[in-house]
């Protein structure tokens, strides 16, 4: 992203370059969908094999914390969308400010998530940390394993997204990122952010709302 020229080596014109970047990002996000898809398949099989126990296990999660976190992420997506709109219009300060707000909301999400983990840890629900577990059945244990892997992987993606947005926010605000010529940079980063949001939109009902 150090490019300041608007057309780089293999491309003939800016339009071609922009299309390639968009297509590349969509394809990359497709691979991310497949990555989480494996986890969703695990969740589906778990529910098929042990429907009643999965529902019981899901009831032990904090529905309302999850709901608040969903709202936080949805709002951050709105901010990113607004930032991208600013970037396309060449409004540097607006771009930086919205991106920064979105990244902050991402951090809020992570903070809430950590708080939620600590609650679950105290309740003896969170495996993998050596503390004695108070899960009632083996399947609940397996469900919590899946919960930890899925939300952990999502949190990792979000963390990457936060760093990405912060870097772009600073570069945009300081003018090192030429706008609107290089608006493609916030646009593609925004696509990534929205996808992380979409994944949470599915994780939330599958993990928290199994009834």
């Amino acid at each position: 992203m150090a490019e300041t020229r608007s057309v780089a080596e293999p491309y003939r014109d800016a339009r071609q370059q922009r299309d390639a970047a968009m297509l590349g990002m969509y394809v990359f996000l497709g691979s991310e969908i497949m990555l989480f898809g494996g986890l969703f398949a695990v969740a589906a099989v778990m529910r098929l094999l042990h429907p009643a126990e999965v529902v019981e296990a899901s009831k032990a999660l904090h529905v309302w914390i999850g709901a608040v976190n969903t709202a936080v992420l949805l709002t951050s997506s709105l901010f990113v969308a607004l930032a991208v709109d600013c970037a396309k219009g060449g409004r540097r300060r607006g771009t930086g400010a919205w991106l920064f707000s979105a990244a902050s909301l991402g951090a809020v999400f992570l903070a809430i998530k950590v708080y939620e983990y600590s609650l679950e840890h105290a309740e003896g629900l969170l495996p993998g940390l050596g503390a004695p577990l108070k899960v009632s059945t083996p399947v609940q244990r397996a469900f919590m394993d899946l919960y930890l892997v899925a939300t952990g992987l999502h949190a990792l993606h979000l963390l990457i997204g936060i760093l990405l947005l912060l870097v772009i926010a600073i570069r945009a605000a300081s003018g090192r990122l030429l706008l609107p010529e290089r608006a493609i940079v916030p646009v593609t980063a925004g696509l990534y952010w929205h996808l992380v949001d979409v994944i949470w939109v599915f994780l939330y009902p599958i993990l928290y709302l199994a009834r």
């Binding site: 293999p10 390639a20 990359f28 691979s31 398949a41 099989v45 083996p138 899946l146």
Partner: protein, 555 residues
């Protein structure tokens, strides 16, 4: 007659190897001599060379592991290695050959080198991503070598749970990390090719003028992007189980080991097509160039690549017929596996038809192409036999399966890799190699291969399970035969290494188009300049547009 067969002038002969041609001076090979100019290059051709070095090294390591196994299998008591040692040998053989040789072999070397040249582009869509992909690959390879040094891993390349997650004593986590990282390289490479083929074709290069090799690489890339992430997440789950005890497949927690197999084969069956589709693309090029004719039924051959890529995603369950999957699922997977035979069959029959009324040259690329076709047909048809449920119950997990997939992977993909190497070598280095040696190597590979792997079909049907190094004495003769073949095969694989290296310095300059072939890559100088084309070409002709020659014209 092709330029290759024209011997250079006598004066040239004394001189060659010492003098550098003008073309060479302006080529990508001479565009910078420092190490940095190679290791920080963004030129797709140089990255292809970097890959070529890396995978050659891995091919040799994987081959050494195979040699060790074949040596051990000479006696039925397995005198050379311990049980554990043998398990580690075949695991490292599998892991290295699958992820560090076969999957990147043709796409990352020839795909990288040729796709931009063939579609009239100056580079891939994301040159930096391309270089990053190589570094990720090398990092993953480093991890693998570290696993090797640290004592190896003993689960087989399939990492089946709960053996890998709860019982193995090997470095499963490290190996999983290595493959996980290699997966990123695969995904980024696939993504790069997809975008390049969509967005960087030169004017006039419509989809129905695309070389069949590019079609094949495109289909491969779709699989790379769609299948690899599923493997990645599956490996994450295994590592999580070993590191933190997060037992998602643990039967004691109500998990199902078969779920692991479903996820693993959802990747690994399409991965077979990652390995073989580029080879099919190469052979289409070789056959057309050797026959000097358009490939018979271009549209069918191009479409069959896509069909194989798509249908390849619907058949993974045929690895699980005796694993305890539902009988109905098995029947459906068996049927769909037969469906893959249709596009594969189309290709083979169409290649045969391409030769009809051609002007066939028996140069090394063609011989490798024929080696491919012969061995691929045997591998494919025995694959159909394996898709038959009742037969699979008997031969599943035996040497029959081992023989079958080596006919496809080694007989097929590796032969095509060597075919590609012999066909495009003059383009890559700008020099020609001795054709006689090329032909000899091809013949030795064909013979050595069959001697190695045909006896394994018999072994398998006799009931010799795979991954055994202590076996019943009645299998010994066939094993000795197989090991003898493997020695021949190993030597045959070393031959090209010698004469191709020799040719880089002493070979005659190749000229732009030594095979007199069509395709944009042959319109550039050999070796091509850094930016491929001074002016982006414009295509106004169908692919493989060989002019009709009159008989005896070149006699």
């Amino acid at each position: 007659m092709t330029a290759l067969q024209e011997r250079p002038e006598q004066a040239d002969r004394h001189d060659r190897g010492l003098s550098e041609t003008d073309t060479e001076r302006q080529s990508y090979l001479r565009a910078g001599h420092s190490l940095g100019s190679w290791f920080f290059t963004r030129d797709h051709k140089r990255i292809a060379i970097l890959y070529l070095f890396a995978i050659t090294a891995f091919f040799m390591i994987g081959g050494a592991a195979a040699a060790l196994m074949r040596l051990d299998l000479l006696t039925s008591a397995g005198d050379l290695l311990t049980n554990e040692g043998y398990n580690r040998a075949f695991t490292i053989h599998g892991v290295i050959m699958v992820w560090f040789f076969l999957i990147p072999s043709i796409p990352n070397t020839f795909g990288n080198f040729l796709v931009p040249l063939m579609i009239g582009a100056r580079d891939l869509a994301f040159p930096r991503l391309n270089l990053l992909s190589w570094y990720i690959f090398v990092l993953a390879g480093g991890f693998t070598l570290f696993v090797l040094i640290a004592g190896g891993v003993d689960t087989g390349w399939t990492f089946y749970t709960p053996l890998s997650s709860m019982f193995s004593h090997g470095n499963v986590v490290l190996a999983a990390v290595a493959v996980f990282i290699a997966g990123f390289s695969s995904i980024l490479t696939g993504l790069n090719f997809i975008v390049t083929v969509h967005k960087l074709r030169c004017p006039g290069m419509t989809w129905d003028r695309l070389p069949l090799f590019v079609w094949a690489i495109y289909a491969t890339s779709l699989i790379l992007v769609l299948a690899t992430p599923v493997l990645s997440i599956t490996l994450v789950l295994i590592a999580a189980e070993r590191l933190f005890g997060l037992g998602i497949f643990d039967p004691k927690l109500g998990g199902d080991p078969l779920l692991y197999q479903h996820l693993f084969w959802f990747y690994s069956h399409p991965a077979v097509y990652i390995m073989v589709l580029p080879a099919l693309g190469v052979v289409s090029e070789l056959v057309a160039a050797a026959a000097r004719k358009p490939v018979f039924g271009y549209k069918f051959v191009a479409g069959s690549s896509i069909a194989i890529a798509v249908i390849g995603f619907f058949v993974w369950g045929h690895h699980m017929f005796v694993a305890g999957q539902s009988m109905y699922a098995s029947a459906v997977f068996s049927f769909l596996s037969l469906a893959v035979a249709v596009p594969s069959g189309i290709k083979v029959y169409n290649w045969a038809a391409t030769l009809y009324k051609g002007h066939i040259s028996l140069d090394p690329p063609f011989l490798y192409g024929m080696t491919f076709i012969g061995l691929f047909v045997v591998g494919g048809l025995t694959g159909l036999m394996l898709a038959m449920l009742a037969v699979d119950v008997h031969v599943h997990d035996t040497y029959f399966v081992v023989a079958h997939f080596h006919y496809i992977m080694v007989g097929g993909t590796v032969s095509a890799f060597f075919g590609a190497l012999h066909y495009w070598w003059p383009k890559i280095v700008g020099r020609t190699y001795p054709l006689v040696w090329g032909r000899l190597a091809a013949i030795f590979i064909f013979l050595g291969f069959n001697l190695t792997f045909f006896p394994q079909f018999l072994l398998g049907y006799l009931g010799m399970p795979r991954r055994y190094h202590v076996y019943a004495p009645e299998f010994q003769m066939l094993h000795v035969l197989s090991s003898a073949g493997a020695s021949l095969l190993g030597l045959a694989y070393l031959m090209p290494l010698v004469y191709l290296t020799w040719s880089m310095r002493y070979g005659a300059p190749a000229g732009d188009n030594p095979w007199d072939a069509t395709g944009l890559e042959w319109t550039t100088p050999s070796p091509p300049p850094k930016h491929n084309f001074d002016e982006i070409p414009v295509v106004d002709r169908p692919p493989y547009d060989y002019e009709i020659e009159m008989e005896g014209e070149d006699g």
